[in-house]
Symmetry: C2
Subunit: 292 residues, 2 copies
């Protein structure tokens, strides 16, 4: 990794580096121990429906904080006091943004959204799974994509979200990390405690690929294709047909791309903004602040 001339030790460090245009890349691995969040900024007329969408679907859409007041970008109120944050700027503190107008992408990976943010926008922060990945690694169960320095594979599914107002017809997006059958109960127990960042898996085993309506485990809709330990397509594990506890199977979690997909599918009018994939908002709260 290239040497940086700016600090990325705390959440505030990363936000400041993004604000100053020094850090424009992904945030994975930065400010270890600090919570990272997905961000969605919506016109206020959709805010109530979106809050209810999250409340009805907390596993894929864990809403952890939102703008303290209508239009406020420098203060968010958390679902618990520790997630409340002041002195941020939601318009500049994410390393890269996406901007949509009338549900069409109009800017990709831009540095700020100062021109787009208005007094009638509301920013929403959604939990992300980086928190529990650290904990899995600490327990000797590092996710495969971390070991191989790849992106986590993410898939569209046919599993319906509970609709809310304008947000109808959407389905879960899931992330996938392969584990051996004998490891699954430990993986479930570790991630279960991270209720604000997707919690325990929603499904596991090869039979879940079909029940979730995933077309091809080797072709995720987002992220990188999943590999075996020796770098082959994950589906080859299945073809090997081991049926013992050493067999590796896909394990699926709710994914923070879900609310973005729901927003895109709803055909919203006006300007919607989001972080660019992998370029998260890093908070002042720590991972342990959200563990139960």
């Amino acid at each position: 990794m290239a040497t940086r001339d700016y600090a990325v030790t705390t959440g505030a460090d990363v936000r400041l580096a993004a604000r100053d245009g020094k850090h424009t890349g992904p945030t994975s691995g930065l400010a270890p121990g600090f919570l990272q969040a997905n961000m969605l900024v919506l016109p206020v007329e959709y805010a109530d429906d979106f809050r209810r969408l999250c409340a009805r679907n907390p596993v894929p859409c864990p809403l952890i904080a939102e703008s303290s007041d209508l239009g406020s970008f420098n203060s968010v109120t958390g679902c618990t006091p520790r997630l409340t944050m002041k002195g941020c700027d939601l318009r500049t503190d994410v390393p890269a943004y996406m901007v949509y107008n009338d549900s069409k992408l109009v800017k990709s990976h831009c540095r700020d959204i100062k021109d787009e943010w208005t007094d009638s926008h509301v920013g929403f922060l959604i939990g992300c799974s980086y928190s529990f990945e650290t904990e899995l690694a600490a327990a000797g169960l590092p996710p495969r994509h971390v070991v191989l320095d790849r992106n986590v594979p993410m898939y569209r599914t046919s599993l319906a979200l509970c609709p809310s107002g304008v947000f109808t017809g959407s389905t879960y997006v899931v992330s996938m990390r392969p584990y051996k059958k004998k490891e699954i109960e430990q993986v479930r127990a570790i991630t279960r405690r991270f209720g604000a960042t997707h919690g325990e898996p929603i499904a596991w085993g090869w039979e879940a690929v079909q029940s979730l309506g995933i077309c091809d485990i080797d072709v995720p809709e987002w992220g990188d294709a999943p590999l075996t330990e020796d770098g082959k397509p994950l589906s080859e594990t299945r073809e090997r047909g081991d049926r013992d506890e050493e067999e590796e199977v896909p394990v699926f979690w709710g994914c923070g791309v879900t609310p973005q997909e729901a927003v895109m599918r709803a055909g919203l009018k006006g300007v919607v903004m989001a972080h660019a994939p992998g370029h998260m908002l890093v908070l002042d709260a720590k991972d342990e602040d959200i563990v139960s």
Copy 2:
């Protein structure tokens, strides 16, 4: 309705009548305006998994209160202060109970559970849809089963719950009320405000019957078969093939039978207790206390 020699005007009235053995029947229509709740009583070793099951699946499993302390039957703490209740007795205040031992039914419609309740039991109260039915009726959209004095039809579906610990492999149970297509947005708007009692529908239209994996709309797993206004099987509406806004279609909500099904399917050890279907615990809180 037969004249009663006991009051059923308030939640406390109904609880006292049940405690005294005077009221042993269903609670539908009693103490109008007071919240009614499903009850489940579990051994403490399953309590954390059950709380998380509800937190992960709030639409079908809206947990609204639980025993204030381990083993306490005379005080429940609500998810909001108004749902907290003292001076009740969860062992006697439900008109009829079901008792399961090692997941097998051992008593049906018994009057109390004093002998079964131990210091290591926890009582959980789950919201029920009576609240929004009152509001639908007030808006001129009374549910069909209310008009025809029948029970609401309820169905098993193939829609997966997010698992939690021992509670794996379960699916949504849904209730169904038919409405005309042109009425659906109003029905959604009215019930949306009742977030603590299932909220807005999860699916609607004839296509939802298939997507939810319901075998036969005329044969619900619980409750009475749904009928058209003129008393024919509801499926005949479909066969009529109207495609306009006057067409009546099934509308599905999350149902409080879901957590009971999840508990039964988990194969729990020890003594589990529940209210008998339709024989709810009536609370001191009012419907308006849970509306947002």
